[in-house]
C-alpha cells in the first residue's frame, strides 16, 4: 500500500532533478529563461493573475454560459471576505481546532497500532489491515455515525478526523519501523539491548521520517475531515457556513469560506513541514 499523497517537491528541487533531460531539449535558450528566478516565480504568479483577471472580466462566464450569481467575481468574494472577516476568522479557528485535535488523536492511535503490529507481528498485523480498510470508508459515511455517537458538538468532528488520519499514520509508521537497518538491530542485540530499548533507539527513531510524511498527508486529510464533518450537523465552523451559504444561494460567502479554508490549510501544512525540519535535521531528505 503506498503511503498516500506525494511528498511535495519544492520548485528549486524540481529544477535540479533532471540534468540529462535538460540537455536533450532542442530549445535550450527557452529552457534557460524559464529556469531563471523570474521564470520560476514570475511565471506561476503571472498565470494566477491572468486567471483571476479573466475571471473578473467574466471570460469564464461567457465561455461556460454562467451567470454572475452562479460563479461570483473575485472582487465580490474579496468584498465579502472583508465584510465578514471576524466571523470567518473565528469559524476558521474552530475548524482548525477540530482538525488539529482530531489529527493528534488519530495519529497517536495510528502510531500505537504500528507499534503493536511491529512488536507482535503475528497478531498485530491484522489490526493494521483493519485500520487500512477503515481508510477506504468515505468520510461522508463516517460523519453521520460520529454525530450519533458524540453529539453535534466538536467531539464528532474530532472523531471523524481521528478515523480518517489513523490509517496513513499506522501504515507509514509501520513501514518506517520495519525498514530499519538490520545491522543497527544486530548491533543493539550485541549490546544486549532490551526489546524496549531496541524500540526506543532504533525503531521509533528510524520511523520519524515516515511519521512526518504521514503527518503531512494528515494535515490535508484533517482539514477535509473537519469541513466535511461540519456539512452534516453543526452550528459553527467553515464547513457549516459553506454549506449553509450555498443552500441559501449566498455564493460569495461560500467562496470566501473556501478561500479561508485554503489559507488555513496551507498554513497548517507549512507549520508541520517546519516541525519536520526541526525534528529530523539528520535525515538525508532534509539536506540541501
Amino acid at each position: 500500500m503506498e503511503s498516500g499523497i506525494a511528498t511535495p517537491v519544492t520548485a528549486a528541487e524540481a529544477g535540479k532533478r533532471e540534468p540529462a533531460a535538460e540537455a536533450a531539449k532542442p530549445a535550450r535558450g527557452r529552457a534557460r529563461l524559464s529556469d531563471s528566478a523570474a521564470g520560476r516565480i514570475g511565471l506561476p504568479v503571472a498565470a494566477g493573475v491572468l486567471f483571476i483577471a479573466l475571471w473578473e472580466l467574466q471570460a469564464f462566464h461567457r465561455m461556460l454560459n454562467l451567470k454572475v450569481y452562479q460563479l461570483p467575481l473575485p472582487s465580490a468574494i474579496a468584498r465579502t471576505m472583508r465584510d465578514h472577516f471576524d466571523i470567518l476568522l473565528s469559524y476558521a479557528g474552530y475548524t482548525l481546532a477540530e482538525a488539529v485535535l482530531g489529527m493528534l488523536v488519530g495519529s497517536a492511535v495510528g502510531f500505537l497500532v504500528a507499534l503493536i503490529a511491529t512488536a507482535w507481528p503475528r497478531w498485530g498485523s491484522g489490526s493494521l489491515f483493519i485500520v487500512a480498510s477503515l481508510n477506504a470508508v468515505p468520510i461522508v459515511a463516517l460523519a453521520p455515525i460520529m454525530n450519533l455517537w458524540f453529539g453535534s458538538g466538536m467531539g464528532s468532528r474530532i472523531a471523524v478526523v481521528a478515523v480518517t488520519t489513523m490509517a496513513a499514520m499506522a501504515i507509514n509508521a509501520h513501514k518506517g519501523m520495519n525498514m530499519v537497518d538490520p545491522l543497527a538491530l544486530d548491533l543493539m542485540r550485541s549490546y544486549a539491548a532490551r526489546k524496549r530499548q531496541m524500540f526506543r533507539y532504533v525503531r521509533v527513531a528510524g520511523s520519524l521520517p515516515y511519521v512526518f510524511t504521514a503527518l503531512k498527508i494528515n494535515t490535508t486529510a484533517s482539514m477535509i475531515g473537519a469541513i466535511v464533518g461540519e456539512f452534516f450537523v453543526s452550528s459553527r465552523g467553515l464547513g457549516y457556513l459553506l454549506s449553509n451559504s450555498i443552500k441559501v444561494a449566498k455564493m460569495p460567502l461560500g467562496w470566501s469560506c473556501i478561500v479561508m479554508a485554503a489559507i488555513v490549510g496551507i498554513l497548517f501544512y507549512l507549520v508541520v513541514e517546519r516541525l519536520e525540519k526541526m525534528f529530523i535535521r539528520w535525515h538525508p531528505s532534509q539536506r540541501s
Partner: protein, 265 residues
Amino acid sequence: MKARVRWMPVLAWGAAILLVWELVSWYLLERAEVEMAQSRLPYVHRVLAAFGTYGGVLAKEGWITFTNAAWGFLAGAAAGALLAVLMSASRWMERLAFPYAVASQMVPILGLAPIVFGIVRNEDLARVLIAAYITFFPVALNMLRGLRSVPPASLELMRACAAGPWSVYRKLRLPASLPGLFSGLKIAAPLAVTGAILVELMGASRGIGVIMLRNLYYGPSHVYMFWSTVITGALLGILSYAIVSGIERIAAPWQPEFRSRGGDA
C-alpha cells in the same frame, strides 16, 4: 505493507470486532437503556437483515453513485496523466502548473463539492466533475514523480541509441511512471466515491447519499436501513480501491510489493 496478509489473524480480528459490537449493542439496549441505543450501535444481524431485504434498492442507488464517480475518476485520471506528461516534457508547463498542483494538495478540495453543485445544478454532471477534480491532482503529482524516477543511466543509453523523444516516452518513461500513476489512482479512487456521495447529500435526487440522508432524517424506525447505506458507501469506497489495485497487479506486476518472496515491500 506486505502483499501476503496472513488471513487467520485478520479474520480473528474481524470476528472479535463483530462480537464486541453485538455485545455492546445488546448492553446499550437492554442493560444501560441508553436513549436511541439502536441508532448508536445497532445489532449487526438486524443490519445484515436490512441489507438483505433492501439489497436491490441499495445496489441500484449504489450503482448510480459508483458509475458517476467512475466516469469522473476516469476523466480526472486521463487529464491528470496528460498534465504529468506535459509537465515532464515542457519546462514551461511545469513552471506554470507545478506550484498550483502542490498547493492544491494542501487545500481541502472536498469543500468544493457544494460549490460545484451550486454552479452546475445538474446532479450527474456535478458528481462527475467533482470526482474528476479530486482525482486530477493526486494522479498528476504521483505520475510526474514516476516519470522522473527513470534512472539517468537508462536515459543515457536511450540517447546513445539515438532514440527520439517519442520512443523514450513509450519505452522508458511511461512504463517507469506506472507505479507512481497507480499510487495516485489508489489515493484518488475512494476520494472520488466520497466526492460523488457528498454532492448527493447537497440535494441530488438519486444515489446512495440521498437514501443515506433520507433514512437519517426518518429517525429510529429506519436505523437499520441507514446503517446499511453507510455500509454500502464504505463498500463502494473499498471496491473502488480493490479494482484499482487489481488493475495495478496486471499492468505493473514487477513492483517489489507483489513479489511472493524477497525484496522489501
